[in-house]
């Protein structure tokens, strides 16, 4: 039977003696007898570490690891520099709590301060918090920052990630705020339609850049439309793309948010990931969650502390800017180590390679009669239709089952959402095209 207790049986006996009692049960004398669980609960007997290791390896073995991944849609397969794993598995970083005691937490606080600084530099914004749960909840929190009694309507682009839209809707339903979707046209947000929807009750407009379909949106224009009617502009960005695309700061966004997973976090079946949030300075005191600030100690030495806590739940209770307490601190540190290891040139290089490989794949797909569905400029994702008479889902399943390739994501209208990153070699892309071409020929022949 497994356990992590440190006191021996005889030490436990000594402690019971010191308390003047005979058994552990007496410690629970304040618990009504009828509540004590009699026959336990559905749980197997405990196990040794080796047994557990075998069992969990066996479980992991029931998953399929694909040799090539052409699927993104909110979770991206990127190369993670070896130093990233080494740093974030350091025991102290792993096991520390939230850095309440600044005197013995400078390491964690400085690492978060550096993370905040890098997020500001990446997004072109003034101030970043220490992270929230993920990109979707970050967006929902950003929307909440913009709403007030006078302005409660929320407009989200229908070309944003479906899970982001769903999460915003859930948060807004709970808070009693209306959400409207701006339609899209040719794979991009319909800005003319957006302009006609927006009014003086609109709290904010949210656009994702690049959007769910991979298309690069005209965010500068979207921001102008939002600001013209006094609404805030929230830009959801991919942090790798941000190295080469116009920044939220350059698009005059009030808040920048996004999913930080591409910054060094493995796919991990959806988490833990990282919600990053940065804002312009006028919205600083509305940001949710922890923020690290610089100060000095009693001797005048530079020091870091959790600050602006008057926003937070443990001080403000029901008047807090959010209920968030724990965040994704270790993931924020992961992102910081990733960005520092890549450096400015490495980040740009990763972005350019993602984009280049996606464009190469798109051109090869076009050769086999799977042309782009939308005309707009795209980053590292794009949509193709599936040739007539073929089922996208089945085509993609066959790539997986027979060739170990995780193909693009089948989406509505029998289309496929493809993704490339720096991980996809030319050879891999060419192999995918060959396999697809064979499939198409075979299925087409059977027609």
């Amino acid at each position: 039977m497994g356990h992590y207790l440190s006191s021996t049986q005889s030490q436990r006996r000594e402690m019971l003696d010191a308390l003047g009692i005979d058994s552990m049960e007496e410690l629970y004398s304040s618990v009504p007898r009828e509540l004590i669980t009699k026959n336990g609960f559905e749980l197997p007997e405990g196990k040794s570490e080796l047994e557990v290791d075998r069992l969990m390896r066996n479980m992991a073995g029931k998953n399929t690891q694909f040799s090539a991944v052409f699927r993104g849609a909110g979770a991206y397969s990127h190369y993670i520099p070896a130093i990233v794993g080494t740093v974030v598995s350091k025991e102290t970083f792993l096991t520390a709590y939230t850095p309440y005691q600044a005197e013995i937490s400078q390491g964690v606080l400085q690492a978060i301060f550096e993370y905040q600084s890098m997020i500001c530099r990446l997004t072109g914004m003034d101030v970043s918090n220490a992270s929230v749960y993920d990109g979707a909840s970050a967006t929902a929190e950003a929307v909440a920052m913009c709403r007030d009694k006078r302005r409660s309507k929320v407009i989200i682009s229908s070309a944003a990630h479906p899970e982001v839209i769903k999460t915003i809707k859930t948060y807004c339903w709970a808070a009693g705020a209306a959400v409207e979707l701006a339609p899209s046209n040719n794979g991009a947000t319909d800005l003319a339609a957006l302009e006609s929807m927006i009014d003086d009750k609109t709290a904010c407009v949210h656009i994702q850049q690049p959007n769910y379909f991979g298309i690069i949106e005209d965010c500068e224009r979207a921001g102008q439309i939002a600001h013209a009617s006094g609404a805030k502009f929230i830009m959801g960005i991919n942090p790798i793309a941000a190295a080469i695309l116009k920044t939220p700061g350059e698009c005059a966004a009030d808040i920048a948010v996004g999913e930080g997973q591409p910054l060094g976090m493995p796919l991990s079946y959806g988490g833990p990931y990282l919600g990053f949030m940065a804002a312009n300075s006028s919205m600083m005191r509305k940001l949710p969650g922890r923020i690290v600030g610089e100060t000095v100690d009693t001797d005048g030495n530079r020091a870091y502390v959790l600050t602006l806590q008057a926003r937070e739940q443990h001080i403000r209770r029901e008047k807090a800017s959010s209920n968030i307490c724990s965040n994704q601190a270790l993931c924020a540190m992961t992102a910081a180590v990733y960005m520092a290891a890549m450096g400015p040139e490495g980040m740009k290089n990763a972005a350019i390679q993602c984009m280049s490989k996606a464009h190469y794949l798109a051109s090869r797909l076009e050769e086999i009669k799977m042309p782009l569905k939308y005309g707009g400029q795209f980053f590292h994702e794009f949509v193709t239709a599936c040739p007539d008479g073929l089922d996208a889902k089945r085509l993609i399943e066959c790539l997986g089952a027979d060739h170990g390739i995780l193909g693009g994501l089948p989406i509505e209208d029998n289309c496929i959402l493809w993704c490339c990153t720096e991980m996809n070699t030319k050879e891999e892309i060419d192999r995918l095209i060959n396999v697809l071409a064979e499939n198409l020929a075979e299925k087409g022949g059977r027609g």
Binding site: H3, Y4, L5, S7, Q11, R12, A18, M24, L27, Y28, S30, T37, L43, E49, R57, N63, Q65, R71, P81, F93, Y97, T98, E103, I104, G107, F113, S117, R121, A130, Y133, E163, K166, T170, Y171, A242, L245, E250, P266, L267, S268, G270, P272, G293, T295, D297, T307, Q313, E318, K319, N323, I324, N327, Q328, C331, E345, M347, Q353, M355, S356, E422
Partner: protein
Amino acid sequence: MELLFEKSKEGRSCTILPACDVPVAAVEAGAARQTPLTLPELSENDLSRHYSELERRAHGVNNGFYPLGSCTMKYNPRVNESVAALPGFTNIHPLQPDVSAQGCLEALYLADKYLCGITGMDDMTFQPAAGAHGELTGVMLIKKYHEKRGDTGRIKIIVPDSAHGTNPATAAMCGMSVVNIPSGPDGCVDLEKLRAAVGDDTAGFMLTNPNTLGIFEKNILDITRIIHDAGGLNYYDGANLNAIMGIVRPGDMGFDCVHLNLHKTFSTPHGGGGPGSGAVGCKKLLSPYLPVPRVRLKEADGKYKYYQEYDFPDSIGKVKAFSGNFLVTLKALTYIITLGREGIPEAAQNSVLNANYLMKLLSKRYKVVNDGFCMHEFVLTLQNEAKEYGFTAMDIAKALLDHGIHPPTMYFPLIVPEALMVEPTETESKETLDKAADIFLEIYDQAIENPEGIHGLPKTTPIGRPDEVRAARSPVLRA
């Protein structure tokens, strides 16, 4: 210590990526970034030393005793970490077809089953990423329940004044107003005040049990009945489950919904503030409203297959993308499987034993708020000392830093002046508790002798006490 940015040298770099092997594509000028990207430029050696230095300026459970009340800083088993690092889990895309993610789905299914057993709930979701996120999800379930019954006048959430700040903040995010009820003289819920607070407008009641004073609410069955009789639902904040896991089940106490802090009770590390996991369990009456997808098991052709079910039309939707902090859930599952049926209650009992033993030792000098036995934690008050000698809970906490002990939670619960909330957890040995008690008592005696001296502590930490007022008044939040 220098920042990464101060160590940066133009032209220095790591070599991570190969040359691009396809024709290079470029962003059209109108969409391209204008501002230079000013990230630090460093070698791998620079990075390695920087973070090693930062690590030395931090304190984790691996460095020493960490009796931070309400946070359950137990030992974080390393087999959990090695399991969560298996490529068979880390390389799995969240949108892989179910047939190719059977291991992940099995993990979620088992965690659901085991934790429902431990809590006495019927269904569970692992989508919430932290305790507060779980609370948000739970209160949303309660809101949806009333809404679906057309009972739309239920807009109030009742919380005791000893509650964590996340409880009222959560209620407010769900558009609910918050009714704070004062605790009785014994630190427990005052039944009369509770009866007076409930009514047709009661949506629900949020409670930790044991409560934040480390006391088991002995009237818990009356409490939950009062709420149910008024038409409200009971929400269990799982922050303090460690004291009772495997011994008493929230479901049997009359709770309809719980959240668990897997990063407290179920041994996953806190990571300097996250990631956690705020799994939410509920009774059948709330199951239709749980976030989607939910993991199911079906039999087909004599084989069992796990799959994700999205078809719950009354679901609140999503509170986060995908399936939550999956690897955290996986670590918690590894822990549950290790401890098993006997180990879970044994851990709870030993957390209570350790707390009572330490409480007894500290009561030689310190004023303990609890009467009789405590549960997994207890609360000290330095109110008299602050008045008579001029040293505070903060001073004791800061003095502990010089002895390699992480201080207890300070100034919480809010109902106790000059509070120190101590939670040793079950993974500490008797020697650690004896030694810690000696240090606590020695600090106390020194403070009585020389109250001025303690204000200047700590002396041996990387920095002295920071100027928090300056940090908030003139914020410097980035380099």
